[in-house]
């Protein structure tokens, strides 16, 4: 069997000289491409460390999730490892000061994001002293026994997926032990130019291995496999050495783009395909990047948060490309300048690799937790986009078996429901289809646009639904209020009727008995045979109605309704009414003058606007007094 498979490999390798794509039979997943890697560029120069730039820019959101909130103020002195931003509101990762210095500003700054938007950032002016707080996470160095304990440390350390996605690592870890069967260490750095993981594996293999052991120990993982692409022989050697006495298996994998993709590497190492719309954890697999594992090791053993990372500074436009352990917040441009550019960097730098990375709108952006590469490739004239010839190359290259050509047609025609049906959201935007396209169609751009448009449409639909609900609620509310008002008026009318029935009988005491009888008859109460009872009951009702009204309406109406029942002379009543009116008028006049006075004394800038407001207020005040008067009259 062994012989047969090695024979097959040899045969394919021979055939691939004539037909390069024959190599696609040497690995588990579909498609894939074989670009020129240029990895030697940055590997041929030594690793640079200890670069402390003058200013560090730390965006408050360097991960997937919600933005953190600054815990420091402008002017504060911060020490290395000090937590400077955190939030309790949801999925996020705290941010720590990479070195000692002073916070000089908290303001929006450009962020390495394809949108080129400015986002709120903390700007630290470094003092070069590098004073630090040791063991800021207060750990005892022991390996946590439960996933929850590990999650807590990982969260506090602000660790996010450092392969590029930036998903907070603590959220990725399961809460229960033994839910993860296999922990995969992702050392298959497949994008051209990027060598930061390679360099990390060569120099710090032991730390990565310890990090993997910590995670394995906490989660009760049975199997730990490390997948490294076979073009990183030095990394494989150092890693194998570090894993010699451990249960970790080192598994060299075929060099093909995109081997480093999560689903692709899982398929290659375990032969499991992660179903559409599922995560790796659903099939019992946890994958972590080597840099993430090293950060976990540092957090658990020394209590150090994530404040620096390995970054590749490479590209065809640089004389001396290199890898650096750069502090978060270091400027892209500053690092690129250190690599002796062949020509002035007046072209956009790229964050990430040439296939998945995005060109920047501004070169002076900071390294964040997810930045793995600063790429300086001088612009070259590009070939014009030609019409699709339906060759199907993209379909053969797609690593997740999508139909890029169909996706393209539908995206171009804005048939987004079709695009969604063709599973555009499973697209990992690896760029294989664009790479192989003989017509140079920017296919991935179409999918990205389609994805964001679909999300936009969904958001709009949700908005419309909300608006509809709220509108219907408002209509219901208005109808309810109207019904209530009508009911109130009805009650009032009924009370008035009863009052009028009661009045004549109250006036002449002589005809009291007869009137009472008549009232009793009117009320159709056969039990009302005595003289006092019907009178009392009618009065009670009137009082109850009046009380109800006083509760709902203004207190003035209460006295008004009491007045007739107390049999007060009409003249006195009128006088009281007049007095009340006078008082009200005086009050409102005072109000308006009160309002006017502070407004006039305010700044002269909005004087004109304010004058209009005052005039309107006065008008309004008059209106309300009129209303009040009319209310009082009724």
């Amino acid at each position: 069997m062994q012989v047969l498979s090695s024979l097959k490999v040899a045969f394919i390798k021979w055939v691939s000289r004539l037909y390069p794509m024959a190599k696609r039979n040497l690995y588990q997943f579909h498609g894939g491409i074989f670009p020129q890697y240029h990895k030697e560029l940055s590997l041929s120069h030594p690793l640079k460390r200890g670069i402390i730039p003058k200013t560090l820019v730390l965006p408050l959101r360097q991960h997937l999730g919600i933005r953190t909130e600054a815990k420091v103020k402008v002017g504060d002195r911060v020490l290395k490892n000090q937590c400077i931003a955190d939030t309790e509101k949801g999925l996020s990762a705290p941010i720590h000061a990479p070195t000692s210095g002073t916070v000089v500003a908290i303001e929006p700054r450009y962020k390495p994001h394809p949108s080129g938007l400015k986002k709120l950032s903390i700007i630290i002016e470094t003092d070069g002293l590098d004073e630090s707080i040791e063991n800021v996470l207060a750990v005892d160095g022991a390996h946590p026994d439960s996933p929850v304990a590990l999650k807590e440390i990982v969260h506090q350390a602000g660790i996010v997926g450092m392969g590029g996605a930036g998903f907070p690592t603590f959220a990725k870890l399961p809460e229960k032990r033994n839910t993860v069967k296999a922990l995969l260490v992702n050392g298959a750095e497949c994008e051209p130019f990027i060598t930061c993981d390679d360099m990390l594996m060569q120099t710090h293999a032991d730390e990565i291995v310890k990090g993997a052991q910590i995670v394995g120990h906490a989660l009760g993982v049975e199997q730990i496999i490390c997948g490294i692409e076979d073009n990183k022989q030095k990394a494989i050697q150092s890693f194998s050495k570090a894993c010699a006495d451990t249960e970790i298996q080192v598994h060299p994998v075929m060099t093909v783009y995109p081997m480093g993709g999560q689903t692709q590497l899982i398929q290659e190492l375990l032969g499991i395909e992660v179903p559409s719309e599922h995560h790796a954890i659903d099939v019992g697999v946890l994958m972590m990047n080597v840099a993430t594992l090293r950060a976990i090791y540092h957090a658990v053993t020394f209590g150090n948060p994530l404040i620096s990372r390995f970054v590749t500074i490479s590209g065809l436009g640089l004389e001396e490309p290199f890898n650096a352990e750069a502090l978060l917040g270091t400027s892209f441009l500053e690092l690129a300048e250190m690599a002796k550019p062949k020509q002035p960097i007046d072209y956009p730098l790229v964050q990430g690799g040439p296939l998945m990375g995005t060109a920047l709108h501004h070169n002076n952006v900071p390294i964040i937790k997810t930045t793995n590469c600063v790429l300086a490739n001088p612009p070259k004239p590009v070939e014009t986009v030609m019409p699709c010839i339906r060759c199907g190359e993209c379909m053969d290259a797609c690593p997740i078996n999508l139909l890029p050509q169909q996706l393209y047609w539908h995206s171009r025609n804005h048939e987004f429901d079709q695009v969604e049906k063709l599973k555009v959201f499973d697209c990992i935007e690896c760029g294989c289809c664009s790479f192989v396209c003989p017509s140079h169609i920017p296919l991935v751009q179409y999918y990205r646009h389609a994805k964001s448009t679909i999300k936009d449409i969904r958001q709009k639909e949700a908005m419309a639904e909300l608006a509809q609900k709220r509108h219907e609620f408002k209509l219901d509310r208005i109808a309810r209020e109207k019904a209530e008002r009508e009911a109130r008026i009805k009650a009032k009318k009924a009370a008035v009727k009863q009052k009028t029935a009661q009045k004549p009988q109250a006036k002449s005491s002589a005809a009291a008995a007869a009137a009472a009888k008549a009232a009793a008859l009117k009320a159709k109460k056969p039990s009302a045979t005595t003289e006092g009872q019907p009178v009392l009951s009618a009065r009670d009702k009137a009082i109850a109605a009046a009380k109800k009204r006083t509760q709902k309406a203004k207190p003035s109406t209460g006295t008004e309704s009491k007045a007739p029942s107390d049999k007060q002379p009409d003249a006195r009543q009128k006088a009281m009414e007049a007095a009340r009116q006078r008082r009200n008028q005086a009050k409102t006049a005072e109000d308006s003058t009160d309002k006017a006075a502070p407004k006039d004394s305010k700044s002269a800038q909005a004087a004109a606007k304010r004058a209009a407001a005052v005039a309107a207020a006065k008008k309004r005040a008059k209106k309300t007094t009129e209303k009040q008067e009319s209310n009082d009259d009724t």
Partner: protein
């Protein structure tokens, strides 16, 4: 002959009963067409169509009592969709909404607001918060941008402002809108891969 007649008679009765049962069992409440049209409308409840909200307009359309081109926020696209669903001739839009890319939301200048509650009364989705003689403010997430509150304000303190672009509502530009033939500064990586030498893609 008789047998055939009886068979058909029995069948007719059976199917008649079945139909009668179905009409009771699967009775549709309200006009389904109105509901369908209502789904197409943008739900801004702006009343620019002359009806007090999107649903009344949808109902009028379903009854065939209204024109298909009245929904201004929906624009040409909605008009075409309505015409399709109601099997009527598409009509040119009488008025078109200002073609702004971003969604507009109302904003109250709180230093000017006098607390007159006029805007609160007209807001179709109760997105304005405030009370008599108290400052009002707009709940931006719930504002549909219908602009009904703008004309009623006695002190002109309501303004329509575009929502700022954030990372949440930013979206990737469409490739065909971008300039081609040169790698400009604002180009994304759509062509970055071409910086690699494609002729040697067979070598690893």
């Amino acid at each position: 002959m008789i047998a055939a007649l009886i068979i058909f008679l029995v069948m007719a009765i059976l199917f008649g009963l079945l139909q009668g049962y179905a009409s009771v069992r699967f009775k549709v409440e309200g006009n389904p067409l109105a509901e369908q049209i209502n789904q197409l409308l943008p739900q801004t409840q702006c009343g620019q169509c002359g009806f007090p909200g999107c649903k009344p307009y949808a109902e009028a359309l379903a009854e065939g009592e209204s024109e298909v081109n009245l929904c201004i926020p929906g624009g040409h696209k909605t008009m075409i969709e309505i015409a399709e669903i109601t099997h009527r001739e598409p009509k040119e839009m009488a008025e078109t909404a200002p073609t702004s890319q971003q969604k507009l939301v109302a904003k109250i200048d709180e230093s000017i607001c006098i607390g007159c509650v006029h805007c609160i009364k007209v807001c179709p989705v109760d997105a304005i918060l405030g009370a008599t003689k108290k400052m009002h403010t707009v709940i931006e997430q719930e504002c549909t941008g219908c602009e009904l509150c703008v004309p009623v304000c006695p002190v002109d303190c309501v303004e329509m402002v575009a929502e700022p672009v954030t990372l949440h509502n930013w979206s990737w530009p469409e490739p065909s809108q971008q300039t081609r033939g040169r790698l400009n500064r604002y180009d994304s990586t759509e062509n970055a891969h071409l910086l690699l030498n494609k002729s040697t893609k067979g070598e690893s």
